[in-house]
């Protein structure tokens, strides 16, 4: 932490003094990041999700059961059955391991090219509260 010596008592405008010679010559350069400063704060988030894959076997239904009748568009969104270019849901949930492998380039088992792309996009868009989210989040955890 910086020390609090040399507070700017004689600086009523609160602006940096113009005459550099008045200031201690040993000042350390503080990297400010400029006008478009990048974030200098990272907040720790709970790692709970990472346990889903590590201590427990988990799975991801595509789509989640309340929307079982809907189809999946190429971009992974849920659309009414029969929509052009959309594929029906997967017959069984995928395991965490299958999804992990698929995210690294393998195919989800038993899927066509279109299904594989649509399902993976659906999985990437999973939100907290949807079945399979904890499982997917656990696959994303860097260690």
């Amino acid at each position: 932490m910086s020390e609090e010596k040399g507070r700017n008592a004689g600086d009523p405008q609160g602006l940096p003094p113009e005459d550099e010679s008045l200031v201690t010559p040993t000042r350390r350069r503080l990297l400010m990041g400029g006008a478009v400063a990048a974030s200098a704060i990272v907040s720790i988030r709970p790692a709970l999700a990472s346990t889903a894959a590590s201590v427990l076997n988990c799975r991801i239904p595509v789509p989640d059961p309340p929307h079982a009748s809907q189809h999946i568009a190429a971009d992974g969104s849920l659309v009414p059955a029969g929509t052009q270019g959309a594929v029906p849901g997967a017959g069984r949930p995928f395991t965490g391991e299958e999804v992990k492998a698929a995210l690294r380039g393998r195919h989800l088992p038993g899927t066509s090219y279109e299904q594989n792309q649509a399902y993976l996009n659906y999985i990437r868009r999973l939100q907290s509260g949807t079945s399979g989210f904890t499982c997917y989040a656990s696959l994303q955890m860097p260690r």
Binding site: V42, I44, R45, P46, A47, L48, S50, T51, A52, A53, S54, V55, L56, N57, C58, R59, I60, P93, T95, G96, E97, S131, G132, F133, T134, C135, M141, P142, R143
Partner: protein, 287 residues
């Protein structure tokens, strides 16, 4: 429930109930040398139940339940019931344990000081700990290391070692046959076989130890040792702990002390013997 067993692993005790006899028979055999919960009262309850009533008999399917549960848990085949029971106990620890900072790490002890190894599954931390546990170190745990926020000591959680795939053959070369559980093929985690920790691991399970070295092993790469800064070690350990955030200030104090007091290294290795030689050298110079 119809079948049940109670047992204690280090500071945590469990009551496991099952709709089927086999998982309980296996647990009772493999944990025979472990103590019973104090007063007969367990910290956690684990339940192995049929996913639906008829699935107790027809294509039996095990749902892992208990005091603490996770969404998205997949049911398992009854043939993998022992693994389900182990997962159920791990889940209670991961979600419910509050008396220590729980690190997802393996841990071994020598001369009163502990080596902690953390990494994702497949990093080799579990197999390394199991091997060291047969070569003069005391195995403290292959999955969780318990960091005491008050004393800074590590406490053991020497559950059955969960050996996966090639690690099974590796350990069959090191430990006698009677210490192995049944071979479970094609589980969701591959082939699994449990190994009962040796006598000293079980009889000394209540002894805490001061940590001396933190390693981040990585299997499958050319051998290399890299220094890990305190910030990186802190960040990675928060993500390797299931209760860091829930412990609040106690967790913060424990973990900052841990990373400032203990040297940390990342080690890459391509074989167990190579890793053990690296560990011996690091232990000589750092611990």
């Amino acid at each position: 429930m119809k079948h049940q067993v109670m047992l204690r692993i280090g500071p945590a005790s469990f009551r496991v109930g099952s709709a089927w006899p086999q998982p309980i028979v296996d647990l009772a055999r493999l944990y025979a040398a472990y103590p019973q919960p104090e007063d007969g009262i367990a910290d956690f309850t684990v339940r192995l139940e049929p996913t639906r009533p008829w699935r107790r008999f027809i294509r039996p399917s095990v749902f892992i339940g208990g005091d603490h549960m996770l969404a998205d848990a997949a049911p398992m085949a009854l043939a993998h019931g022992l693994l389900a029971a182990e997962m159920g106990m791990n889940m209670q620890m991961a979600l419910g344990w509050r008396r220590h900072l729980l690190l997802h790490a393996s841990c071994v002890e020598k001369d009163g000081r502990a080596l902690v190894m953390t990494g994702e599954s497949g990093s080799g931390k579990s197999t390394l700990a199991a091997q060291l546990g047969e070569r003069g170190w005391r195995l403290m745990g292959d999955e969780f290391a318990l960091l005491d926020p008050t004393t800074g000591q590590i406490f053991a959680f020497p559950r059955l070692v969960s050996l996966k795939n090639q690690a099974i053959a590796v350990m069959q070369g090191e430990a006698p046959a009677e210490r192995f559980g049944p071979l479970m093929r094609d589980t969701p985690k591959g082939d699994i076989r449990h190994l009962v920790p040796n006598r000293s691991a079980v009889t000394r399970m209540d002894e805490g130890t001061i940590p001396a070295l933190l390693l981040f092993p990585r299997f499958g790469f050319a051998p290399e040792v890299r220094e890990v800064g305190q910030g990186e070690a802190f960040m990675r350990l928060t993500q390797a702990s299931t209760n860091y955030v829930t412990l609040g200030e106690r967790g913060f104090t424990a973990l900052t002390r841990f990373v400032t007091d203990i040297p940390a290294r990342a080690i890459d290795f391509s074989s167990g013997d190579e890793a053990i030689a690296m560990i011996d050298r690091l232990w000589e110079t750092l611990a």
